[in-house]
Symmetry: D2
Subunit: 485 residues, 4 copies
């Protein structure tokens, strides 16, 4: 699946506490490492012990910050954010980190995920006199936390707010110069902890830690709060909530995360190669060539080809589609009735791999099916005798409510269609998806610990109008409020 056409990830977060140098540049570089998680806006909030500093702007990390902006972000502790809009409108006022000052100091929040009870929380807070400048989740979390901090210490206040939040979240938070990270009780969104030479870092993905020449310590656990020491000398852990099962997003492994990141103990590149291997095992077909959709299908195709080879199949692994990497912001795409075709501007077949041959095309997923259809068409035009499509994930049949902008149910090609119908619509000679069990196996998680909402339509959280994946004893908001400490 081509980035930009498939699901769009919603945000990357980071937090840093260092011994005695400014956090701004490490934050900047780690946001850059997470740029694939959000290209809409970028922001950094730091605290120098006395005062909070903030710079949030629309655009890519490299465009949002100038050298002067970084110089102004004083302080050895800070958090950062890159975003796609999840909830709340797309403008500067919703860009993050969100920062407020309140009775007990200054708060900064960076959020990846999506709450399902925001309206409920907002109503409660408004009844208490709160006024909101945006319609985003993050401001609601900030106000709730600020309120809880009026009469609780930090740990208890976080716990109380977490007890009231329902949905997926990985948060980095600053309370004055204290940096914290929390992950929702079922660990839907990823968050990990790294050690630097002179401090600690929290990040959505471990690749951000690598960029800072740091070492991955471990994933933050579902329901865990990590508090970094302000002087970078260590961290404390508080397991605030424990649930029996997790609800990790398998799509991070399939599509969103960088191949070089380790998510929930599993290197994404290896997971994808395993998914490719499993794909061969479940539905391998011997063709002249097997080729990835660049760049999304590359690791899958590599695993698939290795498995094919081990199985003695005479299938050559080769690049069959060349990607044009230069797209200006304002590039004018061809209209329907122009003879030039949009897909051809992005991907061009390499004839020697394709012409007169049967080929298997490997991708990670199909959302709307538009690009797949165009690619099958393109390969046939380039002379492919057969085009088989193998997908390293199950069919996506339902929307995501956990922080990913998949598409509406109407737009999803697999919603309510059989695989044969989809194959027919796409025009491939054969089409196979991967089974859910194979996915669970390849990423080393039990099926029960995964959020499979988008491939089953059953969700780990109550979504109005959707089914829940199991019967959880879930307290109401009121109960949680009373029960939290």
């Amino acid at each position: 699946m081509q980035h930009g056409e498939g699901p769009t990830e919603k945000c990357g977060v980071v937090g840093v506490a260092l011994a005695d140098r400014d956090a701004a540049r490490p934050l900047y570089y780690s946001l850059y490492a997470l740029q694939h998680r959000g290209q809409d806006s970028a922001g950094i909030v730091t605290h120098d012990g006395f005062q909070q500093h903030s710079h949030v702007e629309m655009g890519l990390v490299g465009d949002a910050f100038g050298p002067d902006d970084l110089d102004d972000l004083n302080g050895s502790a800070g958090i950062g954010h890159v975003r796609y809009p999840t909830a709340g409108s797309v403008n500067t006022s919703c860009a993050q980190p969100f920062s407020v000052s309140f009775k007990s100091g200054a708060l900064g929040l960076a959020h990846n995920g999506n709450l399902v009870n925001t309206d409920e929380l907002r109503d409660e807070l408004e009844s208490l006199g709160h006024a909101f400048t945006s319609d985003g989740d993050t401001e609601v979390i900030a106000h709730d936390l600020a309120r809880n901090l009026l009469d609780s210490d930090l740990i208890r206040a976080v716990k109380r707010t977490m007890g009231r939040m329902h949905g997926s979240y990985a948060l980095t938070v600053m309370h004055d110069d204290t940096v914290l990270g929390v992950r929702d009780p079922r660990g839907n969104r990823p968050l990990c902890l790294g050690e630097l030479e002179d401090g600690y870092v929290l990040a959505s993905e471990s690749a951000a830690i690598d960029t800072l020449d740091g070492t991955l310590v471990r994933d933050v656990q579902p329901g865990e709060l990590i508090v970094l020491e302000a002087d970078g000398s260590g961290y404390d852990s508080y397991q605030l909530f424990e649930e029996e099962t997790a609800a990790h997003c398998f799509f991070e492994h399939v599509y969103f995360a960088r191949p070089d990141s380790v998510i929930d103990d599993r290197l994404v590149y290896e997971a994808r190669r395993n998914l490719g291997r499993a794909l061969w095992e479940e539905s391998g077909i011997e063709t002249d060539a097997v080729m990835p959709v660049p760049d999304s299908g590359r690791a899958f195709a590599s695993g698939y080809a290795d498995a094919a080879q081990e199985a003695g199949a005479g299938t050559e692994f080769a690049e069959g589609l060349m990607k044009n990497r230069y797209v200006g912001r304002t590039f004018i795409m061809p209209t329907q009735n122009e003879r030039e075709r949009a897909v051809r501007l992005k991907l061009n077949p390499i004839k020697s791999t394709v012409e007169g041959r049967s080929v298997t095309l490997i991708d990670d997923s199909i959302v709307r099916g538009t690009t797949s259809t165009q690619l099958v068409d393109l390969l046939r035009d380039a002379g492919a005798t057969e085009v088989h499509l193998r997908i390293g994930a199950p069919p996506i049949v339902a929307p995501c409510y956990m922080g990913i902008d998949m598409a509406t149910r109407e737009e999803l090609i697999a919603a309510g269609q059989s695989t044969e119908d989809i194959r027919d619509s796409i025009g491939a000679d054969s089409l196979s998806y991967l089974s859910i069990d194979a996915v669970a196996g390849a990423i080393g998680q039990s099926r029960a610990d995964l959020c499979l909402g988008c491939v089953t339509g059953e969700y780990p959280f109550d979504i109005e109008g959707e089914e829940t994946d199991r019967e959880l004893e879930r307290p109401t908001v009121g109960e949680r409020e009373l029960a939290d400490d």
Copy 2:
């Protein structure tokens, strides 16, 4: 005094309610008419009966809004703002109108003035759990008003908030689609009411009403609240506070306001001509020519010349300095050791008026004295035999805390210096200021009804470290809270 070098006015506000067309364009044009009051940012908030719409951006009115922005601002009621930073840092988050949603709907606020008890109010609100995204006055007012609206109707809530605010303010406010305007109990900042063919308008200056082809109804009174009918059919007035004396800012008449505006019943152009006449009467001197500093001294010089002529003095009124009106944002000014002189780029003497002649130069005020010194120098270089300086206001000896960025006390040339010292420092052959009484006379107010802080150092509000101009029985915040209704 040249604009850009003298005091900078802090903001213009406007509010409009119309029968059945969108308020966005009338708001846009009226902000343009108030552009001289703030070039830092511009914003409009409208409400269409269901929803609030907001567009706030840095820059001039003409640059901050595109046609699409105006089209998106639906609704026949709205408020607008142009700003210079008064309190709060200079960035987007402080630009106005400030808008929030809260239990009872949506609020928008546009503020001209400066509160002196913001920190106190903020502390109180923070104790109640409020969190603030900016360090500006306006957010504090918005939160206070939102809180009061939890258990009061609009009129009582405004009254309660006004009772708690201490300082100068002219506000336009939207509560959902209701537009209101209030002026502080001593009327420090101007605000007036106008009637349009199909609605009503509130604005800092009447010139904004003219731009909309409307008619000035009257000034909003000190302590008065005006509520516009949502359908543009009328307005209601509530005299919420009454004080014995006003504290009108005389500097609006001398410097800030447009000559074509009527402020507190007095046309500014006429006030300035009267100030010029009074200047002749108090310290007229017969020279070959009298000339304004363009454009600030023009009306003063015209009145001065008329009075001189009536007195039979042979003083010719002529332009002696030509202004260059083209300055790009990024124009590179000469450094100290370059031979080209910065003042010469802006003002060039007209030789025939100056050469071999004694001249009187008229300006409205002197802040730092830098430009005056340069102009006297320039005129001498151009061949003036004598250069006399006449100023249409008293010496500015103290800073303004009521919403104008004068300068610090250290920067003010008249702080702690005699007129003779200033004359010597500027290099003029003679220098005279206007007396306070003459100012009061020329603008048709009693001296007791003016805020004269910047020329006396005695202020109508308690400023930490400054004297108060009289003994007021002023309740504390707590008392006011209880007493307000």
Copy 3:
């Protein structure tokens, strides 16, 4: 007449040679002083003795150059240009100075004016193999000069090229590091020479010399070539052509030039005051007030009011229209059917001057008549009992071919209409223009020495389809070519 609505001047030129500092900054400041002559593009070309440096960009002087751009423009000699498009399309390729390298070095040219035989010259040069990158006059002049320099010294080459050019021009030229200035044989466009502490300067207007703290030496004479010494130590003069009469553009005095400039020995401000005096003498009318259209009519109105007063008329001089000086580039003007009126955004009546009074409005000229009509309307709306219009120039009845973009003949309100018709169309109670003889008198030139094309329709140069103002013995291009040395 409002700038931006009236005729648009076509370009300002400047040239500088200094002893031992870079010319870039003096050129930059002098272009800024000439900014009113062209806001479309700005450019500077310098030469450091070895190499030419050039920076030309669209936009205002302050926007076209950054500090680095100035630093890169090495060399103590250079020329500069601000422009409106005269001939040639409006884009970067037509911006000036135009620079080329050729056999004998490097040439730079900055041109104010308009040639009437460009096509003829271009055809001749193309027959000799020349290829052109633009369709502007200036490239043609550059090529012709480069060709003549192949076998002539600089003076003879300039003379030969001037002999072939037909039309109006004031040029500053660089040949390597030699700066020259020439004015067409009838002196249509202005050009003057100034002395600096450490060099010499050529400029369209003397105000540019003032800006550099220099002294006006004198006007360059019609047909004269001035060559500046490269070390700034002096200049040489060559009277290359002499014609019996000049054809000075009277509109420079009436409208284009800065009031503080001296053009052909006459200070523009004084000329305009004299025009105002003459206007009273020819058609003065006693009304309650006389007021200028700001800023164009101010000097006229001042002279008119002085003459009225000397004549004992009880007419008060006062500002009656207030100008809004803030217009962003992208300001959205009201459409026809919006209630806000475009003219009101720019000019607002000052009621005390106008209401219940008879007024005389003074302007410099009328081109299309649109603004005049709106202003008369505006004054009546503001309560004027009578509105009389007095114009400090004759009716403009024909287009300009000499370098000014007046309007087409169809657009000119005075083309083919009597003054009474115009008055009726504009809606004034009375309307008077100034006579040509009065203009000649006020600017101190004989009528025969003026280009009066736009007010008589008879031109000092052969324009296809237009009349010539006299029978000149004018050699054909071929003859001129042979005869020139």
Copy 4:
């Protein structure tokens, strides 16, 4: 080798003639397909039968053109260009296509390559009176061609100009609405011809033809002129020059061209896979893993891995370095003494592939050696036990004068160093380059038909101060001029 750090290709050219639709969009899309050949500026020139239209701007194709720009480029014939500066300074005036009008119409030129006798040609033309606005090759070619067209037909004029040009070039040219393409007599730069449904296209690479859904007809031959019929119905071929041997640039195959392009009859992707195979054969080493430098080494590594596998080596092909594809224009790179490392921002090791393993890293070439050193370092840090480097081309020991900006001889790590020295400097456990003969074999050309200047220091053209690769009987410019027809 990372793009942006290695040699920079100099320009891509295209030309299109269609039956009855505008050429602008096909030109735009084909330039986008050639974007990798130049990101500095982009331009299109079209002709509508009456008039030439041109739009040239700095920046990427997508940024240089808006929809209106394309709409303004009328005409069914046109040429286009993307560029890196070869000769001539980097600014708008050097951007291409270069267009001029001259006696016989309008010319447009787009040039890829570098002339070695530009100065000579320029001097000759200047002696004839020509003046130049830029210091680029292309203007010189345009002037020469315009001059030759004064007394020759198009074919003879092109031949005469080609006879005078010495160096490498692939040109697309427009003479009015006739589009032509020529390739230098030794075919140094690529150019190919394609057929569209409704016309013909000339382009630097066949991928541009694919983008337009066209078919590659064949390469333009060295010394051949192709003239497209204006109505898109066909083309004529003129073999104007024939030399015994060609001098094809082998670096196009190794580095510059897109993998999906066919250059001189050879698909680039296959050539690279063959180079990888040859690399295994010449210097294969069995390590745990073989991995490409992304993206430049990918096809090489794939061929190398296939050959290794066929040879029974237990070397796994895997991605070992993950590339971050998001770089804003203004991204702030770490300074030397910051702990974050610049290379880590771009490439991050995938630990599972690298840790505790011996690895072979494959790249296409080494220029300065900086990146290679950093990557070896990075892999060792990630736990590689051995790092072997294999390069799919010979050592680059000398600069390119044929249109590629390699580096200066001083900067080239292989200039004057043995492979062992380089290995030592880079820190690899072993290092091997590919032999020249293997290169010739892999791209299917005889060694004599390749330009090998950068790897041998012997050039196919006379370069001042460099050796020539053979003794050619090369006529002087004067002789060529006489001999050409």
